[in-house]
Symmetry: C2
Subunit: 276 residues, 2 copies
């Protein structure tokens, strides 16, 4: 079985992919859309993509690409704790700090406090940032990335666990056409994710949508609006529901939304696993 | 009166700031947080910051910084149409394209179709990207930015209006302590924005919050969840309401939410203006 992930090796996506199962062949792709394209074109059986970080929120490149496609569904969610390190050869004279935009954002307060005048540069991945440090050991640059990556490239850690909040986690989704059961991970709970587009001519439409779940005792764990990319003010809603009731209740709730005039896209019913 | 904006000159923020009123002194700051800090430290009277783009969604650096502060409120909203251009000296042999991350994201499909193997680099602003092109005319790099900036720097436009959707607009908020009335702009409507944190022990809490508005015939124009940056699954909600009813109705609705156990932060009651 082949599993696409957001490369290069030693990225957080690689850590999540690697932890899931050992007998998968892991294939790196340079962007999230290319991971998803590989799945669509049947080059791989599954793709693992980052969905949400507890500090930065949703990964738009991921959630937006799932809108209006029916090729595959979410088969599992993996929650990975994220610890960011400041990595480089010389901690005293740093002139530029490189990392993935999400990693820079996760360490925003640390950087503002400790390196207010240092130039920040967004690059493709945390690994690409560390590679730049390795390639130019005489330049006064540092990278933000994982402990594993620092170890793999044998570059010293200047400052440990620099993310703004100790409780930093990322949700990853495993996409595919068939069930996916990771081994040796802690099962947390089951979830149903829907993308819902409201009818434009129904006042209080979102309130009515939530009512369809509330009176059935179906709990929302998250709701988020994303632009439909048509014009300002037109959104679709990403709705995460705890999957604890009888399957028919969810089916009836979805049918009720459709009768209201909503477009409902089922993104997946999937188990959630926690990595340590 | 002094107005802070996200510099440098010729940025989209500059365009919006410039269109608002001609007798303001415009002062550039290098980041959104620094614009807001300038306002807090009374270096300026107002700050104009980008809030949401119709393709990319909310600007997290802006909306997250408004959470849990009471120094100032939204005094006006300006809607600016955004047209992105591919700018450079040589359109045939481009090896790298630079721009602000939001601009790169807005042109994602154009870049994937026309420049699938070209390296993309995120820089601080669209203007910084064009400056890099000007500074290194012999390097095979191009920038994404506005027509105005291309004209100001006298760099040719390689491809016009390359944003993925013709209907690309950005909302800007003018923050301050006093009313702000721009001249010569088209008034659209009035809005109230609230940040609401739900009590953790109330099942169907969001449904109850929306009920408080729905039965009062108060229409939502937007709802969005943002992470509280504590742990996964804890959010606050940004709620935009059409401000068409009697002021008391909103006041009673807010009091009802507080009785439910919600924390409610009033971000502003403000007029919305459209730029052509």
């Amino acid at each position: 079985m082949k599993l696409a992930y957001l490369g290069p090796e030693n990225s957080f996506s690689y850590q999540a992919a690697n932890a899931v199962q050992t007998d998968e062949e892991l294939i790196a792709f340079p962007s999230i859309p290319l991971c998803m394209d590989a799945l669509k074109r049947k080059l791989v059986d599954y793709a693992i993509i980052p969905i949400e970080n507890s500090l930065e929120g949703s990964v738009h490149a991921s959630v937006d690409r799932l809108y209006e496609q029916n090729d595959y569904q979410v088969q599992a969610e993996i929650i990975l704790p994220i610890h960011q390190q400041l990595i480089g050869y010389d901690g005293k004279n740093i002139q530029k700090i490189l990392s993935h935009p999400q990693a820079l954002a996760q360490c925003q307060k640390f950087l503002e406090t400790n390196y207010p005048n240092v130039q920040l540069e967004a690059v493709q991945s945390t690994t690409a940032a560390i590679e730049a440090v390795v390639k130019h050991p005489k330049l006064k640059i540092a990278a933000i990335g994982s402990k594993q990556a620092a170890r793999a490239y044998q570059v010293p850690i200047i400052a440990e666990n620099i993310q703004d909040n100790a409780y930093n986690q990322t949700r990853f989704w495993i996409l595919g056409k068939k069930d996916f059961t990771p081994t040796q991970l802690t099962f947390l709970e089951k979830r149903l994710t829907l993308y819902v587009t409201l009818p434009s001519n129904l006042p209080g439409a979102l309130h009515k949508v939530l009512a369809a779940f509330a009176w059935r005792d179906i709990n929302l764990s998250k709701i988020e609006s994303r632009p439909q990319k048509t014009k300002l003010g037109e959104y679709f809603f990403i709705i995460d529901l705890e999957y604890t009731q009888d399957a028919k209740r969810y089916q009836y709730a979805i049918e009720e939304l459709q009768v209201l005039g909503c477009q409902v896209q089922q993104i997946g019913i999937y188990p959630i696993y926690q990595l340590d």
